[in-house]
């Protein structure tokens, strides 16, 4: 993060720079089932050099949001803009060149790399697409492999010769070849061993800092998000229930769901303290509860919560929460 943009300053940076989601919703259709609103009205901004963490349980719509953000899924409502221009959903036509700065890292580096092509070729594709030659691309591939902590000689190897952590580095090198200014990373470390997790997370964080790349880091692992993200957004069943600077949200979560998530993380401190569980399961997104979507599992829900859908309100600068029970108290604190 550069000194200019400051930690987590969503509002200070120019409105159009970076990736912005405006009231985005994404729906899935399947025959014989009601429309599923996997993402139901989310607004989010990722400025260059900023690391935004998006956390939530499986089925909350965070991956769907990530895919829609880079144009892999068509939004049903709302808009996605990148540097002020609408992000087109990918079709048969090549992506407009001004959108090449928006790139994605996927969860499974075993599935995201082509097993039959040398990694150097795969990395150099972006250079060739941008009008460069294969030779130039090969040079870039060598440089990028070194940047992500692998040896430049590896360009002629195949993906199966690498471990999971190394493959994820290769996938990151491939993304870097497109010279991105924003990377959406969907669970980039979930498939890796603990020590590989730490090094890949560090790599992504370094890139964001040194190249001024915006990073949307999607993860179910709160403790890693806490470590690397400047701001965090907590998602539940398609909506953001709380967002704010990471340290503040972690130390003082306001929404009952954020509280539950944070207290469920087991700590390796040898204390033998059992994490607190949250009874119940994430409801089927095809049949979301009425009113506040969290109310059936919420310890402080009132009757009104079954009816009113709470809005995400800013109760302190940059801190937002969506809870109608807490809303009066929240503003008082502000």
């Amino acid at each position: 993060m550069t000194a200019l943009s400051g930690t987590s300053n969503l509002t200070v940076t120019s409105k159009d720079v970076g990736l912005r989601l405006h009231d985005l919703s994404v729906t899935y259709r399947s025959p014989g089932r009601p429309l599923v609103r996997a993402v139901a009205g989310v607004s989010l901004a990722v400025a260059p050099g900023q690391v935004v963490g998006l956390v939530g349980e499986s089925g909350c719509g965070k991956s769907t949001l990530g895919k829609a953000a880079v144009g892999l899924l068509k939004p049903a409502g709302g808009r996605v803009t990148f540097n002020g221009r609408a992000v087109d959903t990918l079709g048969l036509r090549p992506r407009p060149s001004d959108q090449r700065g928006l790139q994605m890292v996927f969860q499974d580096p075993y599935a995201s790399l082509n097993p039959r092509r040398r990694i150097g070729e795969q990395i150099s594709d972006a250079v060739v697409l941008a009008g460069g030659t294969r030779e130039r691309g090969r040079e870039t591939a060598r440089e990028l492999l070194e940047r992500v902590g692998l040896a430049a000689e590896f360009v002629d190897r195949f993906p199966h010769e690498f471990s999971g952590g190394q493959r994820q580095r290769i996938a990151i090198a491939r993304v870097l070849a497109a010279e991105p200014s924003c990377i959406v990373a969907d669970e980039p470390i979930a498939a890796l061993d603990a020590s590989a997790q730490a090094s890949v997370a560090n790599l992504l964080l370094d890139l964001a800092r040194e190249r001024n790349v915006g990073l949307l880091f999607i993860s179910h692992d709160l403790s890693i998000v806490r470590q690397i993200a400047d701001t965090v957004a907590v998602m539940y069943l398609g909506t953001v229930v709380e967002s704010g600077p990471t340290a503040q949200v972690w130390d003082d979560p306001r929404h009952p769901y954020s509280k539950a998530l944070i207290s469920a993380v087991p700590r390796a401190d040898g204390s033998g303290e059992l994490p607190v569980d949250l009874p119940g399961d994430v409801p089927d997104p095809a049949f979301p509860p009425t009113g506040c979507r969290f109310h059936p599992r919420c310890p402080i829900a009132t009757d009104a919560c079954e009816v009113d859908e709470p809005a995400l309100v800013e109760f302190l600068p940059e801190r937002r929460a969506a809870c109608s029970v807490l809303a009066p108290a929240l503003t008082k604190v502000g």
């Binding site: 499986s58 020590s195 390796a268 059992l274 994490p275 949250l278």
Partner: protein
């Protein structure tokens, strides 16, 4: 660095080999006592490769013991050896005593009787460990009818009781439903109910919460803890997640390249790790209360099967390694009466110098 004797949990396995045969008071004899286990698997050219190289491990009655380590360290292979489920061509030597009976001396038929009856296992992914085409009731009662010879009605009654124990809502109806109709957490609860069906002396739980969300994981950890407290269940939990370990296990053993490099009470191992590998695993974790300190990964990756480096297998990745580490293999030595580590480097010196970045 004084050993915290007061903090230690019960240490039920002090002298296990004196009473392997005669039935002494329950609780004195460990449910599981593994001694000098060696497992070899056939390599690509047919020559045996050593996957586990001299492992000792005990689990006392009502005790939860954690086995930690990176993937490929031999954690799962230890459990598979105990169930007689080694990959084809794999051999196990040493002693594996379940309530005093050596599994490695049993006939295949005896091992089959042991499996699912006295020793049960819960796997990582409940989607693949449950049969998708059989109802939950069928999968639960099959077990009871085979091992306990219960008739259909008694088996069904017991199945409902088991589902209630693991907190499945509406257990009678759940019997007629299929795995895909349950969420991941509920499926893992069902897998635990199946494992508990025959009242096993020992439950092996291999990464039981790794595939689950944190809130659901918390529920499963609480369930295992309650089963231990209320039913006296003994559990060997295998996980790479030291947070899970810290929440649940009484004692922790850390494995690296087929050997145990550190073991002791949870609080000792996680708060005052003596082996550089344990320390490295802890430093690689984001510390919930540790501020924004950078994550410190362990350099390199664990050795492949059969390619363990000479001397201490961890020496190529160890920030404290000295010349001698490549030559002499350190043994697991007692540092306190209950805490053991396999590193000759002065523990106090290790503590003083912060494990540095590569």
């Amino acid at each position: 660095m004084t050993p915290k004797v007061t903090e230690m949990n019960e240490n039920p396995a002090s002298t296990p080999d004196t009473s392997t045969r005669e039935k002494s008071t329950p609780g004195a004899e460990p449910v599981l006592a593994i001694r000098d286990l060696v497992v070899e698997l056939p390599g690509p050219d047919g020559s045996p490769l050593r996957a586990i190289d001299g492992v000792d491990l005990t689990v006392g009655r009502g005790e939860i013991v954690g086995l930690a380590g990176e993937s490929g360290s031999g954690k799962t292979m230890t459990a598979l050896a105990l169930l007689g489920l080694l990959p084809q061509g794999g051999t196990a030597a040493g002693q594996m005593l379940v309530e005093g009976d050596d599994v490695l001396k049993m006939t295949p038929r005896q091992v089959r009787d042991l499996r699912g009856n006295r020793v049960a296992m819960v796997f990582q992914d409940p989607m693949t460990s449950l049969h998708p085409m059989l109802s939950v009731g069928k999968q639960l009662t099959e077990h009871l009818r085979h091992h306990k010879k219960l008739d259909k009605r008694a088996a069904n009654a017991r199945a409902v009781e088991l589902l209630a124990t693991v907190r499945i809502p509406d257990p009678e109806r759940a019997l007629g439903r299929y795995p895909h109709q349950f969420s991941g957490g509920m499926r893992q609860r069902i897998a635990i109910a199946i494992a508990l069906a025959c009242d096993p002396a020992l439950l092996l739980a291999d990464e039981p919460t790794t595939a689950l969300d944190v809130t659901v994981q918390a529920g499963i950890l609480r369930l295992l803890d309650r089963l231990r407290r209320e039913n006296g269940l003994s559990v060997l939990i295998i996980t790479h997640d030291l947070g899970v370990m810290s929440a649940l296990a009484d004692r922790v053993s850390v494995m690296y390249a087929g050997r145990i490099v550190e073991s002791g009470p949870r609080a000792d191992v996680l708060r005052e790790p003596r082996h550089p590998y344990t320390r490295g695993l802890l430093d690689a974790l984001p510390h919930p209360d540790g501020g924004n300190a950078a994550l410190v990964p362990i350099v390199g990756s664990p050795p492949k099967l059969g390619q363990a480096p000479s001397g201490c297998a961890f020496h190529p990745r160890c920030p404290h390694a000295v010349a001698g580490c490549a030559e002499e293999r350190p043994n697991l030595l007692a540092l306190t009466p209950t805490h053991a580590g396999a590193c000759p480097i002065d523990p106090l010196a290790v503590t003083a110098s912060k494990v540095g970045t590569p």
